[in-house]
Symmetry: C2
Amino acid sequence: MGSAIADVAMRAGVSKATASRALSGKGYVAEATRQRVVQAAKEIGFVASPNAAGLVTGHTKNIGVVIPFINRWFFGAILEGVEEALLNRGYDMTLYNIHPGSADRDRVFDFFLARKRFDGVLAIGIEPTPAETERLLRLGIPLLSVGAPVAGIRSLTIDDVGAARLATEHLLGLGFRRITHIGGPRTEGDDSSVHGRRLRGYIEAMTRADLEGELRFELTAMSVPGGYDAGTRALRDPSCRPSAVFAACDEIAIGVMIAARRLDVRVPNDLAIVGIDGHEHAEMFSLTTVEQQPRAQGLSVVADLLAAVSGEQMATEVVEMPVRLVVRESTVSARVNAAAV
Amino acid sequence: MGSAIADVAMRAGVSKATASRALSGKGYVAEATRQRVVQAAKEIGFVASPNAAGLVTGHTKNIGVVIPFINRWFFGAILEGVEEALLNRGYDMTLYNIHPGSADRDRVFDFFLARKRFDGVLAIGIEPTPAETERLLRLGIPLLSVGAPVAGIRSLTIDDVGAARLATEHLLGLGFRRITHIGGPRTEGDDSSVHGRRLRGYIEAMTRADLEGELRFELTAMSVPGGYDAGTRALRDPSCRPSAVFAACDEIAIGVMIAARRLDVRVPNDLAIVGIDGHEHAEMFSLTTVEQQPRAQGLSVVADLLAAVSGEQMATEVVEMPVRLVVRESTVSARVNAAAV
DNA sequence: CTGAAAGCGCTAACAG
DNA sequence: CTGTTAGCGCTTTCAG
């Protein structure tokens, strides 16, 4: 179990240095020697300790990942992609689940990430404060942000404003005018967050259609229960019910569906709904959604980050992933049915 | 950024050894000296590298976690609990997402886990083959299995047979007799898997009620789409529709609900459904379920594992977590409504 | 192509 | 209570 490279070297009748070269593939080693070393390593089940190696090379083969939720569709899917891509390249993924307001959050930035453990850090859906951004940069290792553009850090996102506009315009195109937006929680005056950007897209689309007077929105948690609560609030009063809802994510959208059912508002007959994400559950619920392929984002972002780890220069810029509208039953047949648009 | 303990020592005017003692709290250090060292460390933002320390102490402050799914309710919830508990204790969580049949699976056992990186390994919902179990034991570090009893490894599970019986008996108690079980995929002849145990609980309950003749079940993926497919198969033919379904997890249960709705089978009026898990979505969907509190399992299991890491002897035995039936609308009002039980 | 030696950052004896 | 020394497991000069 506790076999070291010295054991391999001895078994193969070579020095530690040669064993190291043979196993890592770096430096000249006679083919015959190499085979003997590899064979010896296999026999005793030797695997080099990246911790010890990292001490001298500076590379740990470990990537730190910071994420606000694990058990949400978008984040879970992105994590699966990231993990798969890292594993393929021989990297470990160390995961920190930090919550917006929590006290642990500071410890992650000041302590855990500062332990010289990582070759790079992936911030998924994190909207770091300026102080946090500075601490990230101070780590002196490649960084990448996904799902939220961060000034000074290369970021991969979708065009949230555009995606929200796309969703809203789809509803407008079907003839709806009383469209409510149900979005994520927004800290006061913070228009730069994902939630703020999606709200802005909604407002832009409505405004372009000369419907400033119809602007209405509810803010809630990005979850099914959150969507249920906000949906209930929005639909409760029959006298001023929206004919359509643009939800900031699929979970909210499905929560709204459930709320609607409880209130005997039929989807899609009485209410059209659009979400954002493209989770497999969206298909189950026949939800029209703006698909952003989180899993693919995960794969892609790892390739970028590891390129930077290998020394390639990384541009500090925002890259936007394309999205597309996937139309399903929750809106497609709604126009003809809705009592009043 | 690249500050070492030598820098701290120099700044505080002490030796590396004293600095180390002051920061780790191990060994005698004068209070005044300690404060000077701590101050110096804070000034330059020094955090000790657990990798370097681990080389000498043998402890890495890192726990390896192996899990078959990230984006499933039960597993996501357990992961959140595990991560939180580890963070509280200063440990990192390195995550491997391995799939039952995949080729990567071997690499995780032979390569990633063998890299001497972890103080312990947590296997969540993994049903390792005998060969895999042996490789785990050969690591020579504390191991813990959650969600699946593994011979030779301390395991924390629920009583799956009992939970399934509990769910089935709830339906039987309401007067239903045409109860179908929709469970997870079972490899042939493997009665020891979670899926096999839940099926067994169903069969036991039905048999005790003298309903061997009514035994019916569908096997599918433990997901909403899986539940939808299996539910559609089970409900398609009106001439032999079940009056109740016991689903092996909440996701399947909700998939069945959706399938029912598509087929104009009303829940709970025409069909009663019970799941297992107790996810927040179960409440949303008014699903009666056997609650197993995955998050609490995660917290608890970390305490156990870290105790073993700290040298406490760990018993090799199976511990069962209690479960309870949470009755909700999907069954509670079903008895009086169902056309035929 | 191979070996000897140095050293990555840290902690653990062991003297003082 | 504190400093000196050795060494964890590995890679990398630098000679040969």
